[in-house]
């Protein structure tokens, strides 16, 4: 219990201290982020990979309203907690070359967001989950709107109102479940045990699904995403794409499936269809993008679409694939955005046609970028492969056609990603790219860490699969049992 509380609140303490450190903020925030990572690794090592919830903290909070500070870690949570605390130090390190004005606020907000994310990923009380959900949103809104690029105010307002609209209806759903619960509390297990009729399940499904679909985003709730990703500062984009969208996926698995399985059964087909449409649509648009950052943003929609299709397929492979792919996608997309940020910081452009031949002047960048791209297009031997393979298998078990369409688009994905790589890194150098200097210092460190992760997880994913297996199985059993009733 103490470990978990320390894990959740260490970033918060870090945020408060960082806020008062002025120019030292970079170093101080790194110390806290690395300390969180160390603590997470320690917790992961003492974690027993069965279906149980461990390190549980269950403290009274607002007793009159049935709200408790109830958090714990099972296999599914462990994976996303690992992802969060792994990526935050990487993201902070990746900002070392930047000189953001008012750094103390910048890094404090990142750590504050980390705390919100950890609350979301460990909460076992719906109210706590909601608090974390919003506590993660506010800092990222400020990060994107203060340090973002052109037209950031309008774009981020859209992003903010979109997400908060979704979450307010989720709050309504949560209140409804609370009222249905005879014990009048927000406990996750009590919500699992509720007996709702098909009608109620349908409504609750939509109340939750829209909130999660906006966050991920699933077609047609994605319209905020490309603009926001493009206008945000790179670290903001990384936080959004690497970690924040996993809040939506995690929410689907933890809160949607087990609470309203009949709702999922009724509407899951539609969700899969939307996901598949999203994959095709985003891939087609990614093809035509001239800006590399936008291209990656759209490819991210396609990847997330596949993950959500895998989850709604409601089988072990799909779910396990989603778990692995959450981690892989987080690592890869952060790597991609970092490479594009390196290019942008030197050449002041991310337009694909203005670039070319960077590999000649920056061979090291060329290699790491290639590895990250290969990981993204799911080449066997990289981390992306395991996840996508399992996801496709899951979708295949659900429907051959869905798998066929989704599979085709993965090939598309390979085409546009590799074409982007080719146009940026290979070919003739032009007057702009000839001045390019290779990566060094923290850039090297970050990209090497990412590449090592991509290859190691690709070659030996077993510990990862083992970590989540029991929990996923338990969750599916729970869902199937409720469906049989």
């Amino acid at each position: 219990m103490e470990q978990l509380l320390l894990l959740i609140f260490l970033p918060l303490v870090g945020a408060i201290i960082t806020a008062f450190t002025g120019k030292l903020a970079k170093i101080v925030s790194t110390v806290f982020a690395v300390a969180s990572l160390g603590l997470t690794l320690f917790i992961a090592c003492s974690f027993i990979p069965d279906a149980s919830t461990q390190f549980e903290a269950n403290l009274p909070w607002i007793a009159d309203l049935g709200i408790r500070f109830h958090a714990g870690i099972d296999g599914i949570s462990m994976l996303v907690v690992l992802l969060t605390n792994l990526l935050v130090p990487i993201i902070i390190l990746s900002s070392y070359k930047h000189d953001y004005k008012n750094p103390a606020a910048f890094y404090a907000l990142i750590l504050f967001m980390q705390c919100g994310l950890l609350l979301v990923f460990t909460a076992m009380d719906a109210f706590l989950f909601y608090i974390g959900w919003e506590a993660a949103l506010i800092p990222i809104y400020f990060i994107c709107a203060i340090w973002g690029g052109k037209d950031r105010i309008r774009i981020n307002m859209k992003f903010f109102v979109y997400t908060i609209a979704g979450s307010l209806f989720m709050l309504m759903g949560i209140i409804y479940l609370y009222l249905q619960n005879p014990a009048h509390n927000f406990d996750l297990q009590a919500f699992y045990a509720l007996n709702l009729n098909a009608d109620q399940q349908g409504w609750i499904f939509w109340a939750f699904f829209i909130a999660f679909a906006i966050k991920m985003p699933i077609f047609p709730f994605h319209t905020w995403q490309p603009d926001t990703y493009t206008a945000a500062p790179t670290q903001g984009t990384m936080l959004l794409s690497g970690i924040m969208l996993k809040m939506g996926i995690y929410g689907l698995i933890r809160w949607l499936l087990p609470i309203v399985p009949h709702g999922v059964q009724e509407w899951g087909n539609l969700a899969i269809i939307l996901s598949i449409i999203g994959i095709v649509y985003a891939s087609l648009i990614a093809f035509t993008q001239k800006d590399a950052k936008r291209l990656v943003a759209y490819s991210s929609i396609a990847h997330v679409g596949l993950i959500s299709a895998g989850i709604f397929a409601l089988n072990q492979q799909g779910m396990q694939g989603a778990m692995v792919q959450m981690l892989s996608h987080g690592i890869n997309v952060v790597g991609l955005f970092f490479v594009l940020d390196i290019i942008f910081s030197r050449l002041k452009t991310n337009k694909i046609e203005e670039l070319g031949g960077i590999a000649k002047s920056a061979p090291q960048l060329a290699i790491v970028f290639l590895i990250i791209v290969l990981g993204t297009v799911a080449l066997p031997g990289t981390n992306g492969f395991i996840g996508e393979f399992l996801l496709l298998m899951g979708v295949y078990n659900y429907s051959i056609w869905a798998a066929a369409i989704a599979g085709l688009t993965i090939i598309f994905g390979a085409v546009y990603m590799l074409r982007m790589y080719q146009n940026i890194m290979l070919g003739k150098t032009n007057s702009l790219t000839i001045t390019f200097t290779d990566i060094k210092g923290t850039e090297k460190l970050v990209l090497y860490i990412i590449c090592v992760l991509i290859i190691v997880l690709g070659v030996y994913p077993k510990p990862l699969l083992h970590l989540t297996e029991a929990s996923v199985q338990h969750l599916l059993e729970q869902v199937n049992q409720k469906l049989k009733q």
């Binding site: 909070w61 607002i62 007793a63 009159d64 309203l65 909601y130 608090i131 919003e134 506590a135 506010i138 400020f142 709107a145 203060i146 950031r152 105010i153 307002m157 903010f160 109102v161 908060i164 609209a165 307010l168 209806f169 709050l171 309504m172 209140i175 409804y176 609370y178 009222l179």
Partner: protein, 457 residues
């Protein structure tokens, strides 16, 4: 009883201090007086005493009295240098505010409808003068006249309502009225119903609920900012308490009857307040309209009467009062420097004055209802209460309105942090710092650990 006496005596002492030009003694005297009154509210806690059949200091009354007194205290702390620059006769300001407060204490603790009327008038007459206290300012004169005409008009409604109810029940006493309703559930006198509606209209005027809200924006904008602060926070809270005491208490058995017009008022208030606030270019006017929409959220608690209704209003009113005090305090500071209260004058405020801007940000987040602030807990309790009877559509409507609210509350956040501007450096007097700090702490603490206030009443 002690509370009203203390406040009234303080008011007279202040008036005498003004007579002898002891301007330096005014603030300390007032603060001591108010703290004493606050002390009496704590002493009377759980006492539930009835005073001459006219007033009842139950916990409801005491809790709202405490909120009103603390709010007034904070507003007095904001007076530093404020009145001095505007007028020579500053003792009048102090006295009038204190008399208004005495009226409000009656409004939150009446047991007899005559006391409601007396309290309301003591408060209103003081406010009419306060609104127009800048004699040479045209807007201030207009505000005062408008407020007076509208106020007199609404008092007419209220009195007529009281008369009809007296005609039906033969009593002004709240308990007797309730007993009458309980005793004759099927045979309530037909003149009772118009009485209820007229009283609802009269009180809706006072709290500025739509469609009886037309006076609010002009009066709030025309009055001196500090008086506007007072009117939109403390006065509003007291008005609500009076509303609640009547409708959740005496008229509760007739809930099925008056809930229909109430829902209409709530929906109109939410919609008109929010949508009009959206189009304001002036921060002060935006706050005026947003105060209308908050009246809508507060009335929400009456749609479903439960044992928590009263406490919910207390939480919401507290959250709203402290957030508004922050907003107006910063507005006064900005206006002193830039001479304008448009959104543009907030541009770039965060760069030179991060702490002031941070306080205002927290206040806006609280007014918008973002988690971890008191405003969220307030809204949450309101929604929870109405969801309790599964009025899902109403809650959905309120949620859509809350979304609109985000737009205009974030306008000022956007201006402060994301826009480049005049780089004004505010001079923040120590008393302002105290008020801002105290209000921010209350807002955050109630947002994180609301348990301290949840079971007060």
């Amino acid at each position: 009883m002690n509370i009203i006496i203390t406040i009234s005596i303080t008011a007279f002492l202040v008036l005498y201090a003004g007579l002898f030009k002891a301007n330096k003694a005014l603030l300390p005297l007032t603060v001591v007086g108010l703290l004493t009154a606050l002390g009496f509210t704590f002493c009377a806690w759980n006492g539930n005493a009835v005073h001459y059949g006219m007033m009842q200091t139950d916990n409801f009354a005491l809790a709202f009295s405490a909120v009103c007194i603390v709010g007034t205290l904070l507003i007095f702390l904001l007076t530093q240098n404020y009145f001095h620059s505007k007028s020579d006769n500053i003792a009048e300001y102090y006295t009038l505010i204190l008399f208004a407060l005495a009226g409000m204490i009656m409004m939150v603790s009446y047991k007899n409808m005559a006391m409601l009327f007396v309290g309301l008038e003591i408060m209103s007459v003081s406010l009419y003068i306060l609104a127009g206290i800048r004699k040479k300012d045209f807007a201030s004169n207009e505000a005062s006249l408008k407020y007076f005409l509208m106020g007199a008009f609404s008092t007419g409604f209220l009195l007529f309502g009281i008369t009809l109810i007296y005609g039906a029940t033969g009593s002004f006493d709240l308990d007797k009225i309730q007993a009458y309703l309980v005793a004759n559930p099927q045979a309530v006198s037909p003149i009772f119903y118009p009485g209820v509606i007229l009283m609802m209209i009269g009180l809706s005027f006072k709290i500025g609920a739509a469609p009886f809200h037309f006076w609010t924006p002009d009066v709030y904008e025309g009055s001196p900012s500090l008086i506007t602060t007072f009117m939109s926070t403390v006065v509003k809270t007291a008005g609500f308490a009076a509303f609640l005491r009547l409708f959740a208490g005496a008229f509760a058995p007739l809930h099925d009857f008056w809930v229909v017009p109430l829902i209409v008022i709530v929906c109109l208030t939410l919609f008109i307040g929010n949508v009009t606030a959206l189009f304001q270019k002036n921060f002060k006017r935006m706050l005026a309209y947003s105060s209308i929409s908050h009246a809508g959220y507060l009335l929400f608690s009456l749609i479903v009467l439960s044992k928590n209704s009263e406490n919910n209003v207390l939480v919401y009113a507290t959250a709203y009062t402290f957030a508004s005090i922050i907003a107006f305090a910063v507005l006064i500071l900005v206006k002193q420097k830039t001479g304008s209260d448009s959104f543009e004058s907030f541009n770039g405020l965060g760069k030179k004055n991060p702490l002031v801007a941070l306080s205002l940000t927290i206040a806006m987040l609280s007014l918008a209802g973002i988690p971890l602030t008191a405003g969220f807990i307030g809204k949450y309790l309101m929604f929870l209460n109405v969801m309790g009877e599964y009025q899902t559509l109403l809650v959905a409507f309120a949620i859509l309105n809350a979304l609109v609210g985000f737009y205009y509350y974030f306008k000022v956040i956007v201006a402060m942090w994301f826009k480049d501007g005049g780089e004004v450096e505010l001079s923040t007097p120590a008393q302002y710092k105290v008020v801002l700090l105290l209000s921010v702490v209350i807002t955050i603490v109630l947002g994180i650990y609301p348990a301290i206030i949840l079971n007060l009443i």
